[in-house]
Structures are given as structure tokens and as C-alpha cells.
Amino acid sequence: MRAFAETLDSLSTTQSRNGKLALLTAYLRAAPDPDRGWALAALTDGLPLRIAFRRILSDLMAARTDPVLFKLSRDFVGDTAETVALLWPTPADPVTPPRISEVVDWLLNAKPSEHAVIIASVLDRCSVRERWAFLKLVGGAPRVGVSARLAKTAVAEIGGQDVSAIEEVWHALKPPYTELFAWMEGSSERPDPGSVPVFRPLMLAHPVEDADWPSLDPLDFAAEWKWDGIRVQVSAKSGEVRVYSRTGDDISPAFPEIRSAFAHTDVVADGELLVVRENTVAPFNDLQQRLNRKSVTSKMLRESPAHLRLYDLLFAHGEDIRALSFEARRERLESWHAEDRPLLTDLSALVPFTTFAELEEYWRGAREAGIEGLMLKRRASPYLAGRPKGHWFKWKRAALTLDCVLMYAQRGSGKRSSLYSDLTFGVWRTRDGANERELVPVGKAYSGFTDVELRDLDRFIRANTTETFGPVRAVTPKLVLEVAFDAVQPSTRHKSGVAMRFPRIHRIRWDKPADEADTLDATLAMIDRPAA
């Protein structure tokens, strides 16, 4: 527990990705099995424990602290587990904390009624940093800024492998991942996924840049629409079906109808998950409602039915066809689909073209048609994990722009931590029946400017701060930012009622008076219509 506590402690205050990765790798390399595997579980899919954590903590503290002092402390600290770690009486004599594996064993084998006693006895044997780490370990998501993917990347570093190698076996493994570490350290073979439909890392596209066009030959490429849903992979084998997100998270429980549709198949397919009602793709928001759910209600299944638009096939009847060309895979996709006919699916149509000028006509019509843009796929390319250069291009529909007013700024992270680089901006709203206008925030952006512009912005922000809240500064509303974005969507989270997708700063309008910035009405008029 000691080494884990030190690592988690440092992770919680380290901002750079490389710094975090180095800390994690060093820990996973040095820690013994099975402790490191349980730690890895806590940082990825969670430990397989069912503990009534909140109730136990509040019972334990009720017996040990005054309720008024606990509340004052909790309010100050802002995190219950951390408050408990800080308030727990520190033992008078030096103590040795138990190993992670001991703690997990005790909790796995205990009755729920025994959990509180075990947790208390572990806390009694820990220093304050260890208590915090222990509570983060068993309390669910530790929230120290480490994604599951970063943790897997650290494992891969041990074996000098790419993270995709870990991802390909991940879903066939169970904590404490002993065979995974053995494989990375070269003391055993790659674990056999057996009959588990595992995740295969996706192939991703680069945005097409103006400079790319001259080197591209239209004859080498196929084009498809870029659909506005969630990119997923369906992996099916022996009646077992999993739906994986782009990053390899298992999102199957949220989409039971897709699982049933593929139950009779043996494939790994790549596609876009959409909500489709009466042959019309519903707004992205409807799909969002279904994501991140452990289970779905029949009402949701009825009102927001899932649909899979298929792009590609990676495995067909157990055969790995990723090395085949896109064209060959497309043929296999079509013949398999015609044969197995899974419900709730269709094929993403190829867009016929012979010249890029012709394709540009389609591209211009994309927004009108409610489609995100076009994909260009090299006909000869195999299916490659990650974002290889020169194979797939995304050609997003042209951005929309609005003139917004800078309202708040926040410090960036890592190398930008001394600069105010996260910008929140708003547009003018006229209250009903009032003559006065007020600014309402519509989005936040932290890219699109050059380093020089960033320094100028930073200077402006420091010179025009009206209030400071922690890392955030409120700024006199007088600087106009021309913001480019992909779309405007309704949002209940923002006071303005709208949220921008993919906003970035297009130009800084030092010249333009804030009065002349755009209005909320103009913003609302840009809300997406459903696509056909």
C-alpha cells in the first residue's frame, strides 16, 4: 500500500501526461503481483467489489467525530474520502499498512456486514496518505486524472509494446491481471482471449488539410458520409456480443438491442451508432441520453432506438481480414451483411464520384443535409490500429462562426499553466420585455490561437480582470472573439440553453466593439436539424 499511496499521491498533483505516465510505469514495474494488478483494476474498470461505501464511511465517522466538526471539515475539503483520511486518528506508534492484495482478499471474502470493520482496521494501520489512497482504491473512481487508456499505456511500456496490444486482450482478462504482467515481462506468452469477443483498436482518420489535396488522386479513394453518432465496434463470437467505444470501453449494457441483433454472428464490425426514428437520424443529444447507462428502461428502448450504420469489417467468421485492402473488406462486409442480415443495421453508403470537384458539391450540401461531412478512404489501405498517416481523411463540413465576447478565462495545464488559455465566451441576450442586454456563456475554447496571440490574450486578461475565483478570472466584457464551431445544440447545462460543438478561436477581433457581437437569437437559429 505504501508505494501505491505515494504514486497515487503524486499522480493527483502531476499535470503533464508524460509525468503521469512515468509515475504509473515506475509503480507497475516495481510493485509485486497481485498488488499491481488490483491497483491497475482500480485505475481502469474498477475493483470487483460491492461495498456500500458512503454509508460505511458516514457510520464510521459518526462513531469517531462530532457531526458539526465533520461537516465543517467536509465542506472545507470538498471530498468525503479525503476528509475521512484526514480526520481518522493517526496511530501513536509506527504502523505497517497491509498489502493491497490482502485488503482486496479480505473484502472479496467478507459478508457485507463485515465491510465496515475491515475498512476501519485498515485505516487504523495506515498513515494519512495511505488512508487516502486506500479509500480511493476501494471507493470506486479514484479521480486522479488518469484515464483507463493511460493506465493501459503504462502497462504496455513495461513490455515495450503499443497500447493497442493491451487493448486487444484486455476484455478477456480479469483482475489482478497476473498473466498480462507476465506477458509484458516476457515470462509467458500472450494471453489467449479464448471465446471472449475482445476489442480491436480502431483505425482513425486525419482531417484533410488544404496542402493534402494536390497529392491525392481521386481514383485511389472511396468516399462515405461522416455520420454524427458514436463510433463503435461490435465484437461477436459464440453468441457473446460486446459493444465497445472508440477507446475500448465496454458499453454493451447500454445497447441490449444491438447485442441481440448480432447474437447469431461471428464478426468484428466497425460502425456508427445512431438513434434512428422513422428512418431519420435523431439529434446527437438523444444518443447521449443512452450512453453511460448501466441499464436501459424499456421506455428508452422504445423512444430512442439504437441503430448501427456499418463502415467496415475487421473479422469475418473468425478470420482476421484487417490486412486486406479497404475494397476487399468492403466486399466482405457487403456479402456478410446480405447473408447474416442483422437487424437494426445498414451499410454506410459509398458516395460515387470521379473528381474531387464533384465530391466538393456533396461536401457543400452536407450541412443542409444534416451530415457531419465526408470520409475519404484509400482503397488499397489495410485496417491499421491508431491514426496512421495518409490512409483515411475526414473532410468535415465547413465550420460556422459567431462573434462572441470573452467573459472568463482559466489557466491552462502543463506547459500552459502560467497562461490564461481556457476561454469562456458569450453572446448577447435581451431579456423579455427589457431594454437591457446581458451576456450569456455559450462555449469554452482553448485552441485556435498562435503562441503570440496566446501571450497577447494572457496580457489582456490580466489587465482586465474584474474578479478572481481560484484559477478562474472574470474579465471586463470588451474583447470580441470570432469563434468557429461545428454545430449548436440545445443544452440544459448552460444558462443560455445552447452549447457549441468543437469550438475554437478563429480570430481575435481586437478591433470590434463588444456591442456588435452576435446575439443569442442568432445562435439559436443555428441549431441543427435532424438528418435524413
Partner: protein, 336 residues
Amino acid sequence: MRPVETWLYPASLGLYCEPGDFYIDPPRPVDRALITHGHSDHARSGHAHVLATPETIDIMKVRYGANCAGDFQTAELGQTKTINGVSVRFVPAGHILGSAQIVLEYGGRRAVVSGDYKRAADPTCRPFELVPCDVFVTEATFALPVFRHERADSEARRLIQSIARNPERTHLLGVYGLGKCQRMIALLRAEGFDAPIWLHGALVGLTALYQNLGIDLGDCRPASTAADADLKGALVMCPPSALMDRWSRRMGDDPVRVFASGWMRVRGRARQRGVELPLIVSDHADWPELLDTIVETGAEDIWVTHGRDDALVHQLSLMGRRARALALVGYDDDAE
């Protein structure tokens, strides 16, 4: 016997001793002020007459100039003076160099105004001395049970280890300029760190004063005189406000930001400031020290000046003691 509250009480200009006709640490200029220590929320400029320890007077002169008060009278630690029939004695508070508790006796009763204090060891000042009393006037900066500071020497070792592990990165240590700065330097020296320590301009004057007063801090140099190459992998100290400031860009792309403060006990505080290595070192009493000290004084009444008076008054009432918040204005609850 005259109950203490009849001759010592909060008045509009600060905590006032009526028979003595003086204020203690008044936030606004007065005719006669007794100053516990040199921190700016306790020692202000513009009083007509100031009584303080020699070190506190030196600190005030460095900060505000030689003419920051009409006249200065020194109070040697341990000596007793009488002011208009009130007996006055300055006793070490263990907070920073020159810091004192002020012991007042009048009408057969004794009150101790402790100013800011700590019980933990500090190589740059004399240790806290306990004085039994009827009324104990205490601070409450860290009066929440979550505040239990770490041992300062082991925190200094953590910093030295981090410097050894990251030889390419500048370590930028944020510290309160008076007291914490010099204590951290002394702690690092005691742990064997003998490389030059570079100081932000705001820390230079007071550090030089400590050295002139005989506290050995080793090789300290103004950061303004450093070549950029000198700063690479070095230890640079600055006030907390400069940690994220434009000034910090001189420290390369990716300095390790360190902050030594009692507030670093709480992770959110460290994250909010972008601190990568929080060191829990404080010049104020933590929760157990506050409670132990109050109990040891045997005081019947405890008056709380500033900080988390809500939590401390509540805890003392649970312990069966008479406690009240003085609600004095003008103290900085957050500075450390």
C-alpha cells in the same frame, strides 16, 4: 480582582487594554501599539508609538521603512515592563523570528495574547513558552480537525528527493516571504542541501535581515542575477503569488511547482494552485497543538481572534470550556 473583559476588549481600532491605554496588533494606526510579530496583518505602519521585540522592529523597518512609526521601544523577551499600572511581558511564540506572546497582568488577573504561534521546532526562532493564565487569546488559522501538519524536516527531505529525481527541472518553491521562507531554507540546510538557493526579489530583503541577525542560511542569491542556465535544475523560491505568474516562465517549460504551507494538507488547494509537490509545513499551530496549548494554559476563558473560530469555539464548548470569537477585523485568514 478585576475580570479581564473589563480591562481588555475589542474596540473599534482593535484589541484594546483600557488601563494601559494601548492596542495589541491594531489593524489601523493608533497612538500606542504593542506588536506581537512582523507579519503585515499584525504589524502595520503609521502608529505613533510601537513596543515590540528588537527583531520585530527590524522587520518592520525593512518592510515599511525606518520611519514607519513615530518611535520604537524595544521589549526584550522575558523582561517585564509596566505601562500605566499594567504589567507587560513579551514571551516567545515560536511563530517566526522575533514573534512574541504578550502577557498582561492587571487587577490580579493575567491574560496572554498569543498572536500567531506554533509548538513545532523551528531553527529560525525561539520556541513557544507556555504561560498559565486566566484568559488565553488564541488564533485559529488552522482550527479544523483536518489540519495536522507533517514534520517539517521530513517535508524538507521530500523536496530534496524531488530535486535529486528531477535534475533537469527547476524547482520553484512558493513560500510566505517572512518566516516560512527562511525556515524552509534553514530546514533544507540542516538536511544537507548546500547548493545555492535563488530568491525572487520579494524575498531578498527579509532573508538578508535574518542572515544579519545571525541565522545561517548558506548561499542565497537573488534570482535576478542568475543566468538562465544557473536556474536549470536549481531551487528557486518565490512568494506564492509568483508561482503561476509571468515571472515563473523564466524557469523553463516545466518547472516543478512546490508550495510549503499548512493549506497543502488539502489536495484541492494544491490542485487549485497547480502545485505538483505540496509540502505541509506551517508556522501556525495545527488542530492538536491548538487544543493542547489551550488546555495547558489552564485558562478559564478562551478568546479566538481570527481563522476558523466557528470550529474552535464549538470544540472548546464540547470540552466544557468558555470560548468566544472576538471577531476582530483586519486579519488575513488565508495568508500562509
